[in-house]
Symmetry: C2
């Protein structure tokens, strides 16, 4: 059975994926065009739409009481705004030439084609599952969706012991380590890299490593999980590496995600080197006038290196959706790109980065200097001034800021925004030394740590 | 008696004023030139040098235990680095044509001339004392110097009652109100403006007003103190306004400061409309090759309005000193100007501003739109997410950011740095909507409050 084609007076927007990018696009298009002008149909294969996946670690950790707190807008609320959101309905094919998608009701298996005038692909990401024995055992969990979060909490409620192994030490890995510590678990993090947080240079990751150990987290670096061992009932029992075996009552996989672009690939749409969809600045899929894409399934332009990157992050997904909805709604907006800002925390340790790491700069063919300084979050004499390490990369000769990494306690993380704006503006580190940043003893030393780093980096540029 | 003239092999730098700007200049010049090349003499009329005046409210409030914590470097430490810092020695005349200054030993009254090759004027600011009966009574205190702080603490130790009146509701006024609340005082703030914090627009000052009242501070706006009444021993007893009388055991004056430029004025050096010294970008006094000035005695270029402003703030003084010392030391540095960033707090309320207020924009002949939004410091579902109000001004037509004001709790204040960098870079509010700011639920909603304000301001620009 086919949906009816759009009436002569209205066009139809079809959205694949009911989370941040897709529903932001739908909502913004709806703000600009009423139901008489634009029909909006959105397909979501899961049980939840419009939720904050970034909040899952805090739900698991107990800071957030239930999944409903993570839901920005319910399906009913979307429908009340004139968005025909169809839950548990999976799109199985995009027919670009025919301007239609085929969708299947997950419960009944019934399939039908829906024609579109505009298509938004917001299929998100899928977690990387290691290819090894036991990877799908009971008690092994990803934390990508609210369904994943609920399954993990069920395992924790039934677990016989209190030993957790987290595989991967990126931001999901460290956030899940914190969540499990908060749940009273004995936590081991097994990590392929030299240090945790491979989004930082290893010298800065080392600071995270030490802080995690200080929190009682066992950190095992430079190794690979080769097997998940199970008991007689098929439940996880231990995680095995080439050198050791770590008993585990629960295993959390935090080894990253890949763009979910199998539909797009099958439809012949352009994918980049990281497997994400390629778009123009208006978030239109390259070469396709009426196909748009955003969120965790697209690659984005890195404004610092000038190359495409893959970054799965809710804040980008929301911006993409906003831009797409504005354009589909007949107005104009663009997403110029990213500088690679990310911030996370493990207990009271704040970890932030923006721009290029040393290896990114090498890869982009850039010659650079680095400067690392230690300072404090407040004036040294003010109560609760806490130490903070700032590392800065600047291009040789030009002095252009290339990247900043910050590790510290309260007040460290969001300081990275200073560098994010400076990177966007193409500032040099010398220009940054004169920035008029907020100063008062409870907020900053008289020289903000970012300024101290900029001064040292500017000197390194002059001396290079 | 005259000092010996500098020897043939070295030149002499004379610094007037031993606090942030002066001693930063001296220290930086010393880093670049050894004592064989450059002799450095610095005169300070007070008992302390190189201290954080911004820390005085926290000393009075008890967060900082003693004045020694506020001293960045002692006179002995300066001397050990080859800086001849002469305490309790007041410069009484600058002879620009003769390249010499006359200084008087405050204790002995002895005077002598000291010749210079380079002169740094860092005479700071003097607090505005209202011209009214009782303004100099015992128990009435400014909080400009460490000596002031000590005198105020002596009064508090001896005070018979616990009623304090703070005159003025700028950042010193609100910080002193907090300090006195922390000391267990019943605090009344008497303020000439419509709302406290006249560095904000009144609609934002209103939020500070309400929060101060919530803290138990009595806030009296729109009035003027006409008299300070004293008891038989000449100690303060009450503060009088046209409408009322406020009993007081101690009075703190926080009605602002003026540049201390009487020496410079007498020497015929160029002063601006706010009474501060005028310099070029290298911090050289205009028209004088070897006379430099920095800190609270100079006017600075406002990069947003293109006009000179007067801002007494330690962070600028330190930068000025650094720039002067670099230039005197034979290298090159400039201070390009300010955007007017300031941050302060009263108990857990954070107050921040940068750029132009509505009246500054009017005065500069700019047409503008405003946007005010409410958001939260963290994702709404994350524990301790606290409300935050952000007001943004943008120029009509161009959409250029003109100013930002933020009032909120933890995490509000330093967010103003995002706007400070954007102002420096000349960004439009539309460009700001795409800024790649740090996002994770413990740090920010998925749309940072600054981005929410930028979106609303961008819409206001389009609609204007």
């Amino acid at each position: 059975m086919d949906d009816t084609t759009p009436g002569s007076h209205s066009s139809r927007l079809v959205v694949i994926g009911g989370d941040a990018a897709g529903m932001s696009a739908a909502s913004q298009a709806r703000r600009l065009k009423g139901p008489g002008e634009l029909e909006i149909v959105a397909f979501e294969r899961g049980h939840y739409a419009s939720y904050s996946a970034c909040g899952i670690p805090y739900w698991v950790g107990g800071e957030v009481t239930g999944p409903e707190e993570l839901i920005a807008r319910t399906p009913e609320e979307h429908r009340a705004r004139g968005i025909d959101l169809r839950m548990r309905t999976e799109v199985t094919e995009i027919d670009v030439a025919g301007q239609r998608v085929r969708a299947r009701d997950v419960e009944s298996g019934a399939e039908s084609w829906t024609p579109y005038d505009h298509l938004v692909i917001a299929t998100g990401a899928r977690p990387i599952r290691p290819d090894m024995p036991g990877a799908d055992a009971s008690g092994v969990h990803g934390v990508q969706t609210l369904d994943d979060g609920r399954a993990l909490l069920d395992t924790l409620a039934r677990a016989r012991g209190r030993r957790a192994v987290v595989v991967g030490a990126g931001y999901i890995g460290v956030e899940m380590a914190e969540a499990l510590i908060n749940r009273g678990y004995e936590v081991t993090v097994v990590n392929r890299g030299r240090e945790p947080m491979s989004t930082l240079d290893p010298d800065m990751g080392r600071l995270v490593h030490r802080a995690m150990e200080g929190l009682g987290i066992r950190m095992v670096n430079d190794t690979e999980v080769t097997e998940v061992r199970t008991d007689a009932e098929g439940h996880v029992r231990a995680v095995v590496t080439p050198d050791a075996e770590y008993p585990a009552d629960v295993v959390v996989l935090g080894i990253g995600v890949r763009p979910e672009t199998s539909l797009a690939r099958a439809a012949g749409l352009p994918l980049g080197e990281h497997g994400g969809l390629l778009t123009d600045r208006a978030m239109r899929v390259r070469g396709h006038e009426n196909v748009w894409a955003g969120g965790d399934c697209v690659e984005v332009l890195d404004l610092v290196s000038g190359r495409e990157r893959y970054i799965a992050l809710g804040t980008h997904a929301n911006k993409h959706g906003q831009v797409i909805g504005t354009n589909v709604g007949g107005d104009y907006a663009t997403f110029p790109g990213v500088v690679g800002t990310a911030v996370s925390k493990v207990c009271d340790l704040e970890i932030a980065r923006t721009g290029l790491r040393e290896k990114d700069a090498h890869r982009a063919g850039l010659r650079f200097v680095t400067a690392t300084i230690e300072s404090t979050s407040r004036a040294g004499y003010y109560p609760d001034a806490s130490p903070m390490t700032v590392k800065m990369l600047a291009e040789r000769r030009t002095g252009r800021l290339l990247g900043v990494q910050i590790v510290g306690r309260e007040g460290a993380g969001k300081r990275v925004d200073i560098a994010a704006v400076a990177l966007t503006a193409g500032m040099t580190v010398d220009q940054m030394t004169a920035l008029d940043l907020g100063y008062a003893p409870p907020f900053s030393p008289v020289w903000d740590p970012v300024l101290v780093a900029a001064r040292k980096a500017a000197k390194a540029v002059r001396d290079s």
